[in-house]
């Protein structure tokens, strides 16, 4: 039985079924919106790219939009993937010359996306 507030709080945790479904890659480039042709990244496919939280690919981009040299590139898995597939994917990106500042794995929790979409 929980005896402290901290223990009581931890005891309320609900276990969830977690499944790897993609990776957000944070790419630094001065060359404009990155391009990631389908089929070059194994089981991952680029779904969208955002800059400062605003979607810049695919679809309409306001000519007014100010962009910085840091892009969030969302790669979704086209099938079941493992952490080892992510390792391989990161190596491919690096080999292709992309300079990335961070990677964030994307999971579903009980089948629901545990990550936000871009505006």
């Amino acid at each position: 039985m929980a005896t402290t507030f901290s223990e009581a709080a931890k005891a309320t945790r609900k276990k969830k079924v977690i499944k790897l479904v993609g990776v957000d890659m944070y790419i630094v480039t001065e060359e404009g919106i990155p391009k990631f042709p389908d089929g070059e990244f194994g089981p991952f496919k680029c779904e969208f790219i955002s800059n400062r939280g605003t979607k810049v690919w695919p679809g309409f981009v306001s000519p007014d939009l100010m962009m910085v040299n840091w892009y969030r590139c969302r790669f979704m898995a086209t099938g079941d993937v493992t952490d080892a597939d992510v390792d391989t994917f990161l190596a491919v990106l690096t080999k292709k010359g992309w300079w990335w500042s961070a990677a964030q794995k994307l999971w579903t929790h009980d089948g629901e996306p545990a990550f936000s979409k871009a505006y």
């Binding site: 955002s50 400062r52 939280g53 605003t54 936000s116």
Partner: protein, 337 residues
Amino acid sequence: MAQHVVTMLPGEGTGPEICEAVRLVIDASGVDIKWEYEEIGLGCLEKYGTLLPDKTIKNIAKNKVALKGPTTTPVGTGHKSANVTLRKVFDLFANVRPAKLIPVLKRPWDKIDIINFRENTEDSYAAIEHMVSDEVAQCLKVITWPGSYRIADFAFQWARANGRKKVYCVHKANIMKMTDGLFLDAFREAAKKYPEIETGDVIVDNCCMQLVRNPAQFDCLVLPNLYGDILTDLCAGLVGGLGFAPGANIGDNCSIFEAVHGSAPKYAGMKKVNPSAVLVSGIMMLRWLKETAAADRIEKAMFAVLHEGKHVTYDVGGTATTDEYAQAIVDKMQGKA
């Protein structure tokens, strides 16, 4: 007289009835505006599958200026905010929120005349959130140098053009040394171009305390997005609440003027809500369009109607409907009352 073409976004809930009342007043002010109505909000989801249809985007892009009624933003789950989407799509980086005491409303202060310049596109509003484990969520707070510099530069330019004396940066750089530190550094860099304006900075928690103790000390404030969201409502509360709070979202090429209150769906169709917030946003829009005389006429008539108190809405102690209040302002402008 030049004709202006303005996109009207009536919004949801009480938005359409408010916007009709505001249009009645603005059209009676002598300004020549062609209104083009477009849709936005939850009602668009069923019809078009999006809160912000392409047709609306294209119309705003064409006209460059819009007046918007309130929309509804779901809390916690569901669809993203139509307001934030608009700001993102058109990169409306400057949220200008004046908080000026309306002379006829009784408040505990003698003088409040603050203009808040809230950065409108970055910070924790960049929509980068993840569950990083099943018991930990994170939201990235994104602050950029160009995003910070341009809101500071915009605020200083506004201050210079409008004879304001002081521009202060609000931050929490003592704790968030990278993000708020960058915001403050960019502010200080921009300030160098405006030596005639007094500048300084204030930590956000102290700023809140100072605002409720002595709001008259502040002139113009420049804030990152989240602090700006909170402090602009605080300032609105100091001068009479959101019912009288105007707002402008300004980018390099487009500007959208809007009330900052919600859509009050439980009052929809009852024609009892106060349209003043959209009306004062419309007055801001007219000044932005250089229609100063029309803006002054409306403001003077509105103050007079509020001062008389005979045709005001329930929230300020009256029984008038939205339309009766608007008509009273029109009559006052036209010398009928």
